[in-house]
């Protein structure tokens, strides 16, 4: 074959490719994005299936169910909670709280039925594992929905939106999957640094001042009264070592109202999401009710401590990424604990006087962190 003929062949191939890309570039793009979503979906399905298996194993091992729990667990994974209507926002916090309460009671009963032999702490861990499995399963379902809808309608916008958000979605899914594993085995997670700090503080002063412990001061919350540097400290945290967050807002509100607001300061310690580029375990300080969640607990603190009694509220936040918050504690967070304890002590020493009453609240999930 002569070089001239070869050139013709290559020219022909080149033109063919050119026109193909000219007319079908969008289809190619959709196909490429679909493949990326399908890969992610496969990974999500694997996570979801692994989570379900882990859950069944945990329930069988610790709960000793009378029958196979798979069917009941599957129906729990599809469980839904309808948020209250917010067109008329007045009283929406209490309506939301009611919904969350009945959801919690329902879940506790379900877990008690599925795992009758589980202790209170193990039952809390099972609840946490179900919730994390449900989240991963839900992410998988939503991504699958958009992928199938995109394929059905051949809509670039649907596929593109999912594909563009995929790295963030996968990051969240992987973080929740880490939490799932942690709850299943009772390993403390990064979100638990708040209770860890306050319990560390209590232990530092135990020899000087034996703490007075009131278990179940409010539901799932422990109150510890102790003298710290001559101040009367009222320490609030969720009851451990089960995976609970309790209702710290309710406990603080009750405490303040029982004592007619005779407190000088509220110090809250919690884990907070860091921005990219910031270091895990970095301790920052500020003011306000440092508490996450659906907002009901924050509202109670702001209403009682803030509006009604005008008490100053300080916040100490240990910064961490979403992966750190959901995943097991790591070296950076463990190293931050003594520094945070020092910070709380410094707050108590510099912002209150001897004989003052001060509330110290450690906010977070107490999975694997004893009282």
């Amino acid at each position: 074959m002569q070089a001239n003929e070869m050139n013709w062949i290559f020219q022909f191939i080149f033109l063919g490719i050119f026109f193909f890309i000219f007319f079908y570039n969008q289809r190619l793009q959709i196909w490429q994005m679909q493949k990326q979503i399908e890969r992610a979906l496969f990974e999500l399905q694997q996570m979801s299936n692994e989570g379900k298996e882990l859950l069944v194993k945990l329930v069988n091992e610790r709960g000793k169910p009378k029958e196979d729990p798979r069917e009941r667990l599957q129906s729990l994974l599809d469980f839904f909670t309808v948020e209250p209507v917010n067109m008329d926002p007045a009283g929406v916090v209490w309506r939301l709280e009611h919904i969350l309460d009945i959801r919690k009671i329902r879940w506790e009963k379900e877990v008690a039925q599925i795992a009758p032999a589980a202790s209170r702490d193990v039952a809390a861990n099972i609840e946490g594992t179900i919730e994390a499995t449900m989240s991963v399963y839900f992410i998988w379902k939503v991504i699958r929905h958009y992928l199938l809808l995109g394929k059905k309608t051949k809509s670039l916008i649907l596929i593109m939106q999912v594909q563009m958000q995929l790295p963030l979605i996968m990051m969240i899914a992987k973080a929740i999957f880490k939490a799932l594993k942690a709850f299943g085995s009772g390993v403390p997670i990064g979100d638990g640094v708040g209770p860890f700090v306050v319990s560390g503080l209590i232990r530092e002063y135990t020899k000087k001042s034996p703490p007075k412990i009131t278990k179940e001061y409010t539901e799932d919350v422990t109150l510890i009264e102790q003298t710290i540097e001559g101040r009367n400290a009222f320490i609030v945290r969720a009851t451990g070592p089960g995976a609970r967050v309790g209702k710290p807002g309710e406990a603080i509100k009750k405490l303040v109202e029982e004592n007619n607001g005779k407190f000088n300061r509220l110090i809250m310690i919690d884990a907070g999401l860091k921005l990219e580029g910031e270091k895990t375990g970095n301790i920052i300080e500020g003011v306000g009710a440092v508490i996450g969640g659906p907002g009901t607990e924050k509202y109670k603190i702001e209403e009682s401590v803030g509006v009604k009694y005008q008490l100053p509220m300080d916040g100490i936040v240990i910064e961490e990424s979403q992966e750190d918050a959901y995943g097991p504690l790591n070296k950076d967070l463990i190293n931050a604990i003594p520094k945070a304890i020092e910070k709380v002590k410094q707050y108590i020493l510099t912002r209150t006087s001897e004989g003052d009453n001060v509330i110290v609240a450690g906010i977070g999930n107490c999975c694997g962190i004893g009282d």
């Binding site: 070869m6 050139n7 290559f10 790295p167 990051m171 085995s185 009772g186 390993v187 403390p188 860890f196 319990s199 232990r203 451990g240 070592p241 995943g327 097991p328 504690l329 790591n330 070296k331 967070l333 463990i334 604990i337 694997g368 962190i369 004893g370 009282d371």
Partner: protein, 167 residues
């Protein structure tokens, strides 16, 4: 898979894959320029250029798939760090693999080896398992735990002992 979830080997593999892909693309470009513009580098004809380019791109893509599939994901161990309740007077501490029903501040039944006080779990954390070649019969967890254990002897003492042996 994000960069942060890859091990150092994974990252090196990814860089190598990009290098191979880049060189492969250069060969492809040379082949195309040779066809359309008649500029052919010495010693290499069009088909050799295409063959080299294709092989390198294929090799690069293969390495990229290996690096991105998470085969080289770092592995972690969950450790329970045990301390004496008499801390800081007693400096005893040890690390062991996390066991079922372990939790932070749990008091352990066995007493402290140094002062006979109670032991408790001071922390539970996850640490990366070190990537290294394992010697036959060696416990792989040993190295991981050492990261959290205090040095048994100050480094100066060790040095002086060595010097005594080999003056």
């Amino acid at each position: 898979m994000s960069e942060s979830t890859l091990t150092i080997q994974g990252k090196i593999l990814k860089i190598a894959a990009y290098v191979l892909l880049g060189i492969g693309m250069v060969f492809f470009m040379l082949a195309t320029s040779s066809i359309f513009m008649g500029i052919t580098p010495p010693f290499l004809d069009v088909f050799t250029l295409f063959l080299f380019g294709f092989s390198l791109v294929l090799g690069g893509a293969f390495l990229l798939v290996i690096a991105q599939q998470g085969i080289l994901k770092p592995e972690f161990d969950t450790i329970s760090l045990i301390k004496c309740t008499n801390t800081p007077d007693c400096k005893f501490r040890k690390a062991r693999k996390f066991e079922k029903d372990d939790f932070i501040f749990k008091e352990l039944p066995e007493p402290c080896e140094k002062c006979n006080s109670k032991l408790h779990i001071a922390a539970i954390l996850e640490i990366e398992r070190k990537q290294r070649t394992k010697k036959p019969g060696e416990e792989k967890s040993e190295d991981t735990f050492k990261q959290l254990e205090p040095p048994k002897e100050p480094p100066d003492k060790k040095k002086s002992k060595k010097e005594e042996k080999n003056p």
